[in-house]
Symmetry: none
Subunit: 200 residues, 4 copies
DNA sequence: AATGAATGAGACTTCATTCAT
DNA sequence: CATGAATGAAGTCTCATTCAT
């Protein structure tokens, strides 16, 4: 049989594999220790490769960190863009739809905890990430205000920030899936209806 | 002879003064650079004193940082305890009263920016600070729910966290006094009434 | 079958070609940066070949350098041997003949600037090269002294060294051909007649 | 007795002493191995101090090297300026006077061999040093040509370079004092009278 | 109360070189 | 003949911390 002896195109090359593994290991250690306290030696030891190998794939420790942050932001933005609420949604479903948005964010942040830690919780990357996220959400909210779904008593920009702040606090202690659903409901109610027991 | 050989209580001794100056300098540098990126040499250079002097007043770089964090938390808790809303408040004033709470927090965070940066924004101290703050606020809210001021549809703990998250996002870009007042109003409306344009 | 399986002598094999290219590339980088500051990766990048290829042709970075130095010295010695001045030269032509020698050296050093840099200017190779060159020249001069062409007031060895020193300084800033001719004339006059305006 | 307990002004402080010792040790190792092959650890080991101590006194390895090169050049220039030949020198003494100049240079280069190695023989510092030296000497020679001491058949600049080249070659193998005197005589004769046995 | 001087420990990064293909 | 991938060994430099004065 003359089966191919050369690597096939659909098989990732060894280098690509190593790069991916290094990224994962780096994410784990960065997430656990933070950028400064992370040693390159920690990262490579997890894989059993040498330190120079790390520098074959990343130009520096900082570049590796940045690569992870960027990856996180890219994914986060992609998610946000899918969460605009259609203007013709039945009134009875609004709160649930908002809850769904909260839940999608919480699920996203729970999906890759290491990357979340690096891109969303740790400085110095976290601040720009949240600023961006607040902006993207505010864009959605502004449209939803224009479509009459939300009141415009509070500026869309501020609502976006509040949204992010709520997500931030909810996600911090890594709730499980069930808890995330509950929290999303609570946030949606708070955001939609407020908490004041207005006298009728 | 009644010569004073001991420092009198009402006269700050040279040491106490140096200690205070070092704390201030340390706060400035820690706030600007973060814990890891701050060098003890940076701190002492600001004052023109030597490095051993630093170690006369702090057992370590970490201890100095911790001292600042603790100071911040003490002040923050003291503030929170003053912000419980009386049960007999007239309904018309509730939103304003909540806005006042938000504003007090924002003003507090603006008062000593370096300490705020260290105790509220920078890891690793920021997380416990916010957990504590959320708890204290939740305690207030639980009482306010019991007094019938707020609905208990959403758990007090969660509302506390949302409150903290909102504060966090509002304070991040250091708004001036006027902006803080506006933001506080917006947050209060959002928290009390929500943003949904409910059909009547 | 008379198929050629071995490379024919009149066809440069691929390997020989690569070797030559590598030598040239190595010379360029060594000349520019010096031995220590030259990285093997720099050399191979110029050719677009891989680092192991370098080690197919040179046993080490040092060996490659040494090969170049030796090459330079071989050529230099060959030149020197051609420059003995015949004893029966007409007196009127002596200075010009000496100038010719200077010029031949300067032209030689200008011919392959990279190799010159490596073999003549850079340590550690430059010192033995010059010692050798001074010796070869001194041999010529000793004969020229014996033939009565030159006075023997100054030892041939010392004159040889002075000759080398003059060449060294003249060649250092890579004069063009015209300048080299002028410099050679000047050196010849200096060496033959001195510069002192002796009172008559 | 109340003899002083504080360091007196006329006693060099410990730091200054360490700095001086480090300079000497650095000069020794740099001279022996060259810049690139010299390890900071080699330098400090000679003194029995730690590596950080080195960095208390020099901003980098390179800065230390540069400091030594500058020191050498300063001294060399100072020497050169003293060697201009007075125009009214008796004709009989000219060659001896030129020999004296050669000898002063050779003695200078022999005085601190480590510094000489670094500033005069090793690249990359050696080239600028010699260029400077040639220029300073050429300035002297130009004046000596104007005063009629030397012919101006050969340009002062070129004579300066030849002078430097001769010195360079003479100094290279570290002649002892007696040899230096002899060599200086030889160089002076060569430079003043040339070596050609001109037919009368 | 304060400091000049020193250092232990260790981080990041580089580079010549090799192995398996 | 050529190379993608990997590494051992080392080097420069940093920084919190201490000792003796």
């Amino acid at each position: 049989m003359d089966k191919q002896e050369k690597p096939r195109a659909d098989v990732v090359s060894k280098g690509t594999l190593t790069h991916a593994k290094l990224r994962k290991a780096a994410a784990a250690v960065f997430a656990k220790r933070g950028f400064h306290a992370t040693k390159v030696s920690d990262i490579v030891q997890q894989l059993g490769v040498s330190q120079p190998t790390f520098y074959n794939y990343f130009v520096s420790k900082e570049a590796a960190y940045e690569e992870l942050v960027q990856e996180f932001r890219r994914r986060l933005q992609a998610l946000t863009l899918t969460l605009l609420i259609a203007p013709d949604i039945p009134s009875a479903e609004v709160v649930d739809r908002v809850a769904l948005s909260f839940r999608k964010f919480l699920d996203f942040l729970a999906d890759d905890p290491d990357l979340t830690e690096i891109g969303f919780f740790q400085p110095p990357g976290c601040t720009p990430t949240k600023v961006g996220m607040a902006t993207w959400i505010a864009t959605n909210i502004a449209q939803e205000q224009q479509s009459g779904l939300f009141r415009d008593e509070v500026a869309a920009g501020q609502i976006g920030k509040c949204f992010v702040g709520m997500i931030d606090q909810m996600a911090r202690d890594r709730p499980d899936a069930a808890t995330r659903a509950t929290l999303a409901q609570g946030c949606a109610r708070l955001l939609c209806n407020g908490v004041w027991a207005k006298p009728t």
